[in-house]
């Protein structure tokens, strides 16, 4: 089965979230937070003209001439999840003979950018993660999380998980 960038991202964020998402269970928040989140997302479509999507791999901005996959970040904080998501795309492009790409994380607000390469160790790690994601997705029940974590507050599954 194919792994999407979002699934890979959720694997790092929360395995329960990955399971729910992979099993097509959704939850909407009532709070304004999500409403704002949605609006922000819709606004960020200014990038979408260049957005590239296939088989659940969604790339912010693909530079085919220089073979660079760009990720655009609002804040300077790059979470592990985002970094691996980008590396996964590099891996995916290589595996599917789309080409050897490099990654670049752009911080338009800070006028800063950062290069991301795919090392041999990364490839080994990603393949291990892919196997683990398959295991989580196919668990008969959603993995349990004992008590709310910090990230739960912003997670769209908050109400479902903690009601």
């Amino acid at each position: 089965m194919h792994i999407t960038g979002t699934q890979l991202n959720y694997f790092f964020v929360c395995k329960r979230k990955l399971w729910l998402f992979a099993n097509h269970i959704q939850c909407e928040q009532e709070s304004d937070l999500v409403l704002q989140g949605k609006i922000m997302h819709e606004n960020s479509y200014s990038y979408e003209k260049k957005e590239y999507e296939f088989e659940g791999i969604k790339v912010d901005w693909l530079d085919l001439n220089n073979k660079v996959i760009h990720e655009v970040k609002k804040s300077d904080k790059v979470e592990e999840a985002h970094l691996w998501q980008l590396k996964y795309y590099l891996y995916y492009f290589r595996k599917n003979n789309i080409g050897e790409f490099t990654g670049e994380i752009n911080y338009p607000k800070l006028r800063k950018k950062e290069q991301v390469m795919l090392t041999d160790d990364d490839v080994v790690y990603i393949e291990k993660i892919i196997d683990e994601i398959e295991v989580v997705k196919n668990l008969p029940f959603a993995p349990k999380v004992e008590k709310p974590m910090k990230i739960c507050k912003k997670c769209s599954y908050n109400d479902l998980c903690w009601v």
């Binding site: 099993n23 097509h24 269970i25 959704q26 909407e28 009532e30 029940f141 959603a142 009601v163």
Partner: protein, 357 residues
Amino acid sequence: MKRMYYIFTPGKLKRKENTVFYVPFKNVEPQDDENLQNEVLLSVDSDMAESLPTNKIVLPVQDIDSFYIMTEASFNTKFLDFCSANKIPIHFFNYYGFYSGTYYPKEYLLSGSLLVNQVKHYSSISKRLEIARKFIEGAAFNLSKNLKYYNTRNKDLQAQIDTMEGLAMDIPSATSIEQLMGIEGNIRKVYYTGFEEILGKEFELISRKYNPPSNPLNALISFSNMMVYTTVLSEIYRTQLNPTISFLHEPGDRRFSLALDIAEIFKPLFADRLIFKMINNRQIQTKDFESRLNGYYLKDTARKAFVQEYDEKLKTTIKHRKLQKEISYRRIIRLECYKLIKHLIGDTEYEPFKIWW
């Protein structure tokens, strides 16, 4: 926040680009815009609907949760397509306030694994009973909670409360759906005898018969129950639950029998409490009912008044103890759906909503 739009003035609904136009029929007396706003859209914050000088109301699509058509309205298939595309259910009530049906757009949230689990919980009698029991347990709790509320307010309902709680003790040991339904029926019978005490002389509940209701109070109860049913249905629509697979009611009792199941828990809070309040405040009186060939009907002015209160009620917010945040009363219904989903996927055992305040 999205809202429900209740249409009480006959007219035409039209799609116009990304909005819905509401144009009253010509034979309706001319009204100024402000009146029209009040007449047509009983959603209380209808200020979002921008009114035009030409007796038209424009509703932005992102603002519409669902429609309630309480009168004659016309629209074409283009309008229905538009509602489908924008995931807007439409509930229809006829002239006398009887629910006639729901336009339930194509489901957009589907989860194969949840559906399989929902069916499994229906077809295994022990799993089905487990859920059905919880629905009755929640309903029974909320029914006696209502009586307790009045019991502390100069009404003597202790006898009813004791009897109801006695009857509820049999819920855990019930071994069939019929038995559970029987317990619920008995609890409700006792509960209705409390109405007289709560409402005083104004109304007397003689017997509870359906279609047409045999006395004024029954007309009001039926109408309010259908409001709760349709609200629950709209909330189910926003989840992956399949509305036709139910546990307490037999699938097929009504098309969307899961909404009947869940509505049992919420009728005491959303329907009955409002009825008590409105009758006691004389917002609804005997003159608000009309007798027809074979029963009584709630006049549309009173229906409007009820719907207005109902909408207010759903928007009321309360602090949720577990989630530690403010949520609307309406949201409690959605949370109930989420709890049921968690039960069905084997995550967390379902516990019914019990009025906690």
